[in-house]
Symmetry: C2
Subunit: 117 residues, 2 copies
DNA sequence: TTGCCATATGCCAATATGGGTATATGATGA
DNA sequence: TCATCATATACCCATATTGGCATATGGCAA
């Protein structure tokens, strides 16, 4: 078949999940507590189906969990997955702290210390 | 005109820029020093045009800078933009540190302390 | 069962994206 | 100016995404 493979992984990756602004809003809002889709959609000004779709993506990557309560379904935050993103960006901390002009010098130092990253 | 607007912002947002695995690889590699596109492509096993395209995205969101050296163009890291991502995810830190079972209780506490997030 | 409320899906339209290959553009040195 | 190396673009293809709307599904209560 040899289908041309047009793009890499996607909605199974936390980085991608939080690349969508609205999904970030959802996560931020959920910090203040669980909510049913409807309320969430209302608070963020999106349609219910739209919110449902975003929640599905978030659920698939594990950033939210849901539990039944009567005929409602409450969505809650499970931020554990954000930790990897925090750590990944943290790996660049010294670079944004270093004065930009000193960056290259710093890099040179690193290279001498231990060869091979 | 009323074009249906099928998707939100995109390649002008750091979150989106780092959603691509290969772009994250590029950033990680650049921590060890500046490089011309060709070398970068070789080290990461991608074609030169492919690497150029990713670098363009990274440059547009400000995560890399480039400078001319002879007929080469060296790309270097400018991690300052990653700081916002680090901080955003950091805003969830207490949630991934809390025992999951205690989360709801914690949220309730927050709500009582200060109304309005 | 039958309604009804809450939420998830299906489908379509409009775009965004990534990758590949060929080619344009830039800069340098003879 | 010309040949050449380095890098960016243009185009095309296949697929991923998002949004809107209509509709299916699920769970409850009479």
């Amino acid at each position: 078949m040899m289908m041309l493979m047009a793009r890499a992984a996607t909605t199974s990756d936390v980085f991608n999940a939080i690349a969508e602004p609205q999904r970030r809003e959802i996560l931020a809002l959920l910090r203040t507590g669980e909510r049913p889709v409807t309320e969430l959609a209302r608070e963020l000004g999106m349609t219910q189906p739209g919110a449902s779709k975003h929640l599905r993506v978030l659920r698939e990557v594990g950033l939210v969990r849901d539990r039944r309560v009567g005929k409602q379904r409450l969505y809650g935050l499970d931020a554990r997955g954000l930790r990897s993103v925090h750590e990944w960006t943290g790996g660049f901390e010294r670079f944004w702290n270093e004065s930009f002009d000193r960056l290259d010098a710093y890099v040179r130092e690193l290279k001498q210390e231990g060869q091979e990253e």
